[in-house]
């Protein structure tokens, strides 16, 4: 593996169908609407614990996941709502999870930071910074093992998302080195939103201005994408993924993005200026794609309003569904799902309601 100049290594993919870009627009709008309502529900104390919304970063998850096959494993950190939805988790199961309801994607046991969806090959939602990266390498190991030892399945690649703050965890370093020496098809996708909580990346990460050095230390190709433009993300990721799939080798991708809201729901945000936020908001990925589609005649204001309405309806439905979903029952649920083989006080495990659905049922709607 050799170092790759991010500027030259990737050619633009063929023009993406307007239909597809419209789907991306809707996916991003759905995430945005979902997160806005999440914030509201949090303020209404319907959601507990920590809650980190994805607003501003929608193009990352949507662009990356669009470029992957539906059965390529996806794993991420605790800011996971966007990835789960982009992957096709139905909003109702996501919202119910945050409401701590038994209909949630983890039956109310995981919460905002621990979303999971077996059906869509979404492996979580992990709340220890950097802790998901060795797991991601393990998913890549498993796909390769299935292929080569078990001789089953097609070649898959793993999308392992992480925040810029995870760059400084030893786990990532070990994971990247392992992916490299064991030649595992794991993509380390850094959503560089410039901050980990209140720490600007330059304050916490050496060589923040040139993350290609991080990839180079493991002999991995480095790629970069503008995370405020879903088409740019897709373009880069399509090539990265195709190549990683063919070579069954790791790569490192930096997506330059921004979160508009605070780190969590209790963040005074003194570490950045209002102007800085406004600058990024002016470059909003949803607005940008909508404008482009309008300019190309593939969307008009009316259709856009209809789209807005449809995502609002979908999220409203999700909230209503979550509201009515029953609370877990301590007597019945506390000691379930601890183990697969029951013993002593531990009852059996059962998949969440969500798992009964057909794959792709929502993703295609």
């Amino acid at each position: 593996m050799t170092m790759t100049d991010p500027k030259t290594a990737l050619q633009p993919v063929d023009r993406v169908e307007p239909r597809t870009r419209l789907k991306w627009l809707r996916d991003m709008m759905l995430i945005r609407e979902f997160e806005l309502r999440t914030m509201q529900a949090y303020q209404e104390a319907k959601i507990g614990g920590f809650c980190h919304v994805y607003i501003g970063q929608e193009a990352c998850a949507v662009g990356c996941i669009a470029a992957a096959n539906p059965d390529d494993p996806v794993i991420t950190a605790y800011r996971d709502h966007g990835h789960a939805l982009a992957r096709g988790m139905e909003p109702r199961y996501a919202m119910a999870e945050m409401f701590g309801k038994s209909g949630g994607c983890a039956k109310g046991k995981g919460g905002s930071m621990h979303f999971f969806d077996q059906r869509t090959h979404f492996y979580g939602g992990h709340a220890i910074v950097g802790g998901q990266t060795p797991l991601g390498v393990g998913l890549a190991f498993a796909t390769r093992y299935e292929n080569e030892v078990l001789e089953q399945g097609a070649k898959r690649i793993t999308l392992c998302f992480l925040g810029d703050g995870a760059l400084n965890q030893g786990a990532l370093h070990e994971a990247m080195n392992l992916a490299s020496v064991l030649e595992l098809p794991c993509l380390f996708i850094v959503e560089n939103n410039r901050y980990s909580m209140g720490t600007a990346i330059e304050r916490g990460t050496a060589m923040a201005h040139d993350l290609s050095t991080k990839a180079a230390a493991y002999g991995m190709p480095y790629y970069q994408a503008d995370g405020m433009d879903v088409c740019a993300v897709y373009n880069v990721m399509k090539r990265v993924i195709d190549r990683a799939r063919a070579e069954q080798a790791p790569a490192f991708v930096e997506i330059k993005t921004y979160r508009y809201k605070g780190h969590s729901m209790s963040d005074p945000q003194k570490y950045r200026s209002k102007d800085e936020v406004a600058e990024y908001e002016a470059n909003d990925p949803i607005r940008r794609l909508a404008d482009a589609l309008i300019a190309s005649g593939d969307l008009d204001e009316k259709a856009f309003r209809a789209l807005s309405q449809s995502v609002r309806d979908e999220v409203r439905d999700a909230i209503a569904w979550a509201e009515q979903s029953p609370e877990p029952d301590p007597a019945a649920d506390l000691y379930r799902d601890v183990v697969r083989e029951p013993f002593g006080p531990y009852g059996p495990t059962t998949p969440p309601e969500m798992c009964g659905h057909e794959p792709g049922a929502v993703a295609e709607e």
Partner: protein
Amino acid sequence: MSAATATTTRQIQFREALREAMSEEMRRDPRVFLMGEEVAQYQGAYKVSQGMLEEFGPRRIIDTPISENGFAGLGIGAAMMGLRPIIEFMSWSFSLVAADQILNNAPKMLYMSGGQFGCPIVFRGNDGAGGQLGSTHSWAVEGLFSNVPGLRIAIPSTPYDAKGLLKTAIRCDDPVFFLESERMLGNKGPVPEEEYLIPFGVADIKRAGADCTIVSFGRPVHFCLEAAEKLAAEGIECEVIDGRTIRPLDIDTIIESVKKTGYCVVVDQSWPFGSVASEVAAQVYERAMDYLDNRVYRVCSDDVPAPYSKALEQAMLPHAGKIIEAVKKAMYLA
């Protein structure tokens, strides 16, 4: 022994008590510094260190990247050289990535070096359930770490104790694990203006009573007091002992009480197996078996990963209801 409760004593928050302890010690001893994630510019993820950057400057209040193993080890190295680091874990749950440094190095360095290099260091942060944070973020690390010799573990339940114990911790020539609780940081309590220190290994009888001994540590002490109030209404007078430190454990105070009451309930926010509660129970039997009129009852968190759901989490954690039930069972009243 207990906090002065004279009406004249000012009331401050738990986080303020912690801050005062650190600030006073930093003024007294220039070797003391504070390091951790978001402790400086952000003013502390939980505002414990608010204002300290301003007073002490960036050389002594130091922000770190998310590298717990790295900066825990950094602190230990600095302590080997005679500095007195306070290392803040935003949560003790994140100390698992630093387990090697805090368990292999801090508590063993003095021994391994044949008495040459000690580790006068304090690791502190939020321990236990923080309110629906789920499995990875709700560790009560006393269940894991109290097994390890060479360290002190302090776990205050009130602002008064927090301040006095933290000052002792900072002055201690050995490593101290200092366990706070996010759920208590806003609690107010009386803390005198005058300086005081609370020695390690001295439990505090938070409520006197002759009928049943309740032993606890940290946040659950409040549930014990709540239970004791309710039981008092039924005519049962519980003695609530706040251990305050787990290592050293003030077993003498506990035994003295058990000898008086004949009944003992231990309340511990960690999982039951091999827990602080198991240890207290085992030691109580070892030292006071002949005085016990019943077996010791343990109230711990349920032996399952911490769930997110509020209903499940509340069911899992110790609370007054469970304690009342345990006291009644212990006293053959249920």
